[in-house]
Structure formats: C-alpha cells, structure tokens
C-alpha cells in the first residue's frame, strides 16, 4: 500500500487528494439585484484601467481635448509605442527587462527558500522549531521602512548598492511565504507518504524534492506570484538603492519620466509616453494572474483558513 502511494506521487497521479467537505449547494437561485449591484461595483475597479487603455491610444493633444473614457478619432497607440521604446535611446525596454529579471529571480528564490523552510516546519520536529517559527511570524510585522535605510547603508558598505543584487537579495526573504508554505504543506503532504518514502529508503532531500514539491503545486504558485508582484511593484527599495538609470525597474523609471513631465520643461509629449508605459507594464502581471488563477486561488484557500 505504502509503495503504491509513493509511486502514485512519483507518476504524478494523486494518491489521496485531501478533498474538502462537500459543499451544500442550494438550488441555484440567482439574485437579479445582487448581480446588478456587483457589476455596478465592478465599474469602480475596471474604469480606471479602461481609461488607461483608452488613454494609451491617444496622442497628447487628444488626451487634453477628448473625453477620457472614449477613444479619440485618431488611433495613436502604434506611435505611442514607438515613442515609448525609443525615448532616451530605448531605455524603457531595458527597464522592462530589468523588472522581469529582478522579479523572476527574486520570486523563484523566495519560493524555493519558503518551500524548504515551510516544509521543514510542517514535516519535522526539531529543537527550536517553535521559537524559530515565532520569530518568522513576528517578522511579518517588521516595517520595510525601518529596514530599507539601514539595509541601504549596509549595502553601501559592502559595495552592493547600485547593483541588481541590492534589489534581489532583500526580496528573497518572505516570512509570509514561509508561513503559507507551512500551512499548505501540513495539509497537502500526508505524513504517511513521507514515512513511506523513508521506508523505501529515499533520503530526506530526495523526499522533499520528489514527493513534497509535487504536492505543493498550488502553494508554490501562490508564493511565487505574490513574491513576483512584490518585487515587480517595489518602488521604495530600488529608488534608494539604484542610481544608474540603466538599472532601474519600470516603477522607478516611469516615476522619473513622470516627474520630468510634470516639471514641464515643454516636453508635454511625455504624458502619452508615461501613460502608454504604464499600460504596457501592467500587462504581464495581469496576464500572469489570469493564467494562473486556478492555482493561486486554491493555494490561498488553504493559507487563509488558519489565518
């Protein structure tokens, strides 16, 4: 029986899916009122994004002269994109690339570190476990502010400021990720399976790699996506760490473009560039969330329960 279970995992077929209790589904009575009310509320969330989409198809003069929520007669998205990717010698593409690299490397690292630590907290008993976990949980409350400044000074001393490392290394720590992985691993990896693999003679690391990680799927996606968004959206850290504009992520780059635009300087064309840049930069995350929604939502489902 036990070896059967191990094998089921190795071949990717779930041996024992921890199914939630069946939900009672009342006869599907749809509420007309609730539907209308909710869709009206959705407008509040969607209209600003709709405005962004529409605005990115306008040139600067149309931006000022036409109604914000509808297209101008002239469709200038193409021109705006060309302008965006050629402004300052194509710096925007560089920012986009930097953001992707910082975010993906940090998110992969943070996910692996969280998964290993969370798995250990869930599946082993060892001296100091409670204390270490409490410290991790407490760290969720440490404000970034208290840290960003001294981290900057430490990095300056180590000669790491103004390098990609100054963004990536601090982003690897995800106390909440560890917490989420622990809750998730406790639920998704049956002890009997780990035992079975041990009896089968698998080493601890191999058990984690081949049994644990496979069952942690949705949890991994959740931690990965949220770390990805965390680094992708980070502004404060790169703002203080980086001086070279070639190293900026989009957030800092766009903010800089924007402040140049508001400071005037006659270059009003920059407004449409900032808007198009904003639109382009939110697309990847929106797409990632849409594609992976099944995984991260079920991942959060487990994490949120024991809150």
């Amino acid at each position: 029986m036990t070896s059967l279970e191990t094998r089921a995992v190795v071949t990717g077929r779930p041996a024992r899916t921890p199914r939630r209790l069946r939900r009672y589904v009342p006869a599907k009575r749809r509420s007309w009122l609730l539907t209308v009310l909710l869709w009206l509320c959705v407008l509040y969330f969607v209209l600003p994004l709709w405005w962004l989409l529409v605005a990115s198809t306008k040139d600067t003069s149309a931006l000022f002269s036409t109604f914000g929520l509808w297209f101008a007669p002239e469709f200038s998205l193409g021109d705006n994109l060309v302008e965006l990717f050629t402004v300052r010698g194509g710096l925007f593409a560089r920012w986009l690339l930097n953001t992707v690299v910082y975010a993906v490397v940090s998110a992969v690292g943070a996910t692996v570190l969280s998964a290993m630590a969370g798995y250990a907290f869930a599946k082993y008993e060892f001296p100091g476990q409670k204390a270490l976990f409490s410290i991790t949980l407490g760290a969720v409350m440490i404000p970034l502010t208290a840290l960003a400044l001294p981290t900057y000074l430490l990095f300056a001393r180590a000669g790491l400021t103004d390098t990609p490392w100054s963004i990536i290394i601090p982003s690897l720590v995800s106390p909440f990720g560890v917490y989420l992985m622990r809750v998730y691993a406790a639920d998704a990896i049956p002890d009997s399976l780990v035992e079975a693999a041990r009896v089968d003679g698998a080493g601890e690391f191999r058990i984690f790699w081949q049994v644990g990680l496979r069952l942690l799927g949705p949890g991994l996606v959740t931690v990965f996506l949220f770390s990805l968004v965390g680094t992708w959206n980070n502004y404060f850290l790169p703002l203080i760490m980086l001086n070279t504009s070639e190293l900026y992520p989009i957030t800092v780059g766009l903010a800089q473009l924007q402040s140049a635009a508001s400071a005037g300087g006659g270059s009003q064309a920059v407004f449409s560039t900032v808007i198009t840049g904003s639109f382009v930069s939110i697309l990847p995350l929106v797409i990632a969330f849409l594609f992976l929604q099944r995984y991260w939502q079920s991942g959060l489902g487990t994490g949120g329960v024991k809150g």
Binding site: P26, T145, A146, L149, A255, I282, G304
Partner: protein, 329 residues
Amino acid sequence: MSHSPSTSTTTDAVAADRVARPSRVAPQRRRHSLTTRRQHRAAYLFILPFFVIFLTMLVVPLVYAGYLSLFESRLIGGEQFAGLANYARAFADPSFWGGLGRVALFLVIQVPIMLGLALFFALALDTGRARGSRSIRLLIFMPYAVPAVIATLMWGYLYGPDFGPLAQVARGVGWGTPDFLSPGNILGSMMNIVTWEFIGYNMIIMYAALRAIPAELYEAAEIEGAGQFRIAWSIKIPSIRPAILLTVIFSVIGSFQLFNEPSLLNAIAPDAITNSFTPNYYAYNLAFINRELNYAAAIAFLLGLVIAVVSYVVQLGEQRREQRERKGL
C-alpha cells in the same frame, strides 16, 4: 508534474526490495535515534538558507538601525554618541507627529471602509447568487496586479483638472471642476487609491477562507430558512475571523508605511504634500534629502515600534475576545 520514468522505476525497485526482505528493521532502538538525528539535521538544512538571508536582511539591519539612531553627526567632531537625543527630538518634532496623525486618520477611516467592502464582496460572491461571479471576482482583484506606482500615476491623471475624466464628467454635469489634489482633499484622494488597489486582495483572502468553511456548519440553518444576512452574520463571519484578523494586521502595517502615494503625488500637488506627509516619507526625506541619517534611523525605528505595538494590541484584543467567548459558552 511531469512523469519521470527513471525515478518511478527506482522506487519500484526499492519497493520490490523491501517486499523481498521484510526483516530489515532489526535493531529498532538505535536506528530510531539515528534517524531522529538525521531528520533533525535535514530539517536544519532545509531552514538554513532562509534563516541566513533572514538574519542578514532583517535582523542585522534592524540592529544596525537601532545602533545608528543612538549617534549624532556633528559638524565638528563627526559621529558622536548621542544616547536617546534623536528620540527626544522626534518626540518634540511636530512634523513627525503630524505624519503619524495623518496615518492614524488613514487607519480609522480607510481601513474599515476597505475591509468592510472586501468582506461584503467576499460574502456576496460566496452565496453564488450573482451571475458571472468568477469574472466579478477576478475584475475586483485586478487592481492588485497594478504596481502602486502605476496606480498612483494613473489616479493622478484621473484626478487631474485638465484631462482627468472625473473633472470632465463633473464639468459636463455642471458641478464645476472638483479639486481632488487640494491640501484638504489629498488625503481622501490617497485613501481612494489605496482602497482601489487592495480591496480585491483582501477580498480574495476572505473569500478563500469562506470557501473552506465546511458546509455542514450552515446547511441546517439554510434549510430551516435562515436568510443569507443572518447566516453571514452569525456563522460565516465568525468562522473566518482569523482571516479577517490577518487582513486587519496587514492593513495596519501597510498604512503606517505609506510612501509611494505621497512621494509620487508630491510631483503634481507639491502644495498639498509636505515632506513629512507620512512618517515613512519623512524618514526618506530626512535620510536622502537632508542627509540626517541618524535622525532618520530613529524615526524609522520609532515607526517600527509603533507598528509592532499596534499590531500586537490588535492581536491581543482578538485573543481576549476569543477567551471571553469560550468562557461564555
């Protein structure tokens, strides 16, 4: 989850081996302590990478900030030990208190509105009575995927008096041009940006918790004809209290750390946003504009302390309430 033939055959082989020689577990005792020790070592190895970075990125900077805050840099004499002078200065600094006051206002107005709406959406979607629930859920969540910087830039344009659609609509209806960026309105405008961004995130956490409630808990009530409001109030909300608490704590921490919104809106509304609009923005300006690193460290440290205390009080209040309830039962 790819199928890898090589590993599956090795496990098979091991399994076969085990079946063939079942008496492998002979000297139980010694083996036990040996495996325990081996498992301890494995566990430590698993948590080691995280804790190494955790220590260097969280603990060391925190200690360093505390250390820095005890010094003063003087024109003559350079760095000098100042004891708690920086803290004394912060306590007497109206800029620090002003920022803290604004954040407190933010906390008592914006957080309840945001979490209340998030809870409402989560409960409404959980009943499954609206058409297109899945799409509604995703669309409400979408702003979370927008970086705070972009959201602030975007809302800055939306608020704008010239081509902002809000002003366009208001003018069209004949209300004149509202000034969302005036000193009196800017905090409210900021609350709106943060609310827009984070309702969805909080809703998802609550919704996920709602989905995990075993249906049996309210099946009976529903069959006996209890209304949705009654079920939500008496069964669903109490069941997801831990998830709600989590969102409260995250929101408290988030509010105290407000930085992006003031620092970006400062460019378009310099009159409305002082350099000490929020404590975090103040610490940044002190450190990087005024070059007062030691004082900035003290402000950052104090802010951290305030956050820790407030989060702790929130948690403690919840624990007390829970205990009271348990006694009452």
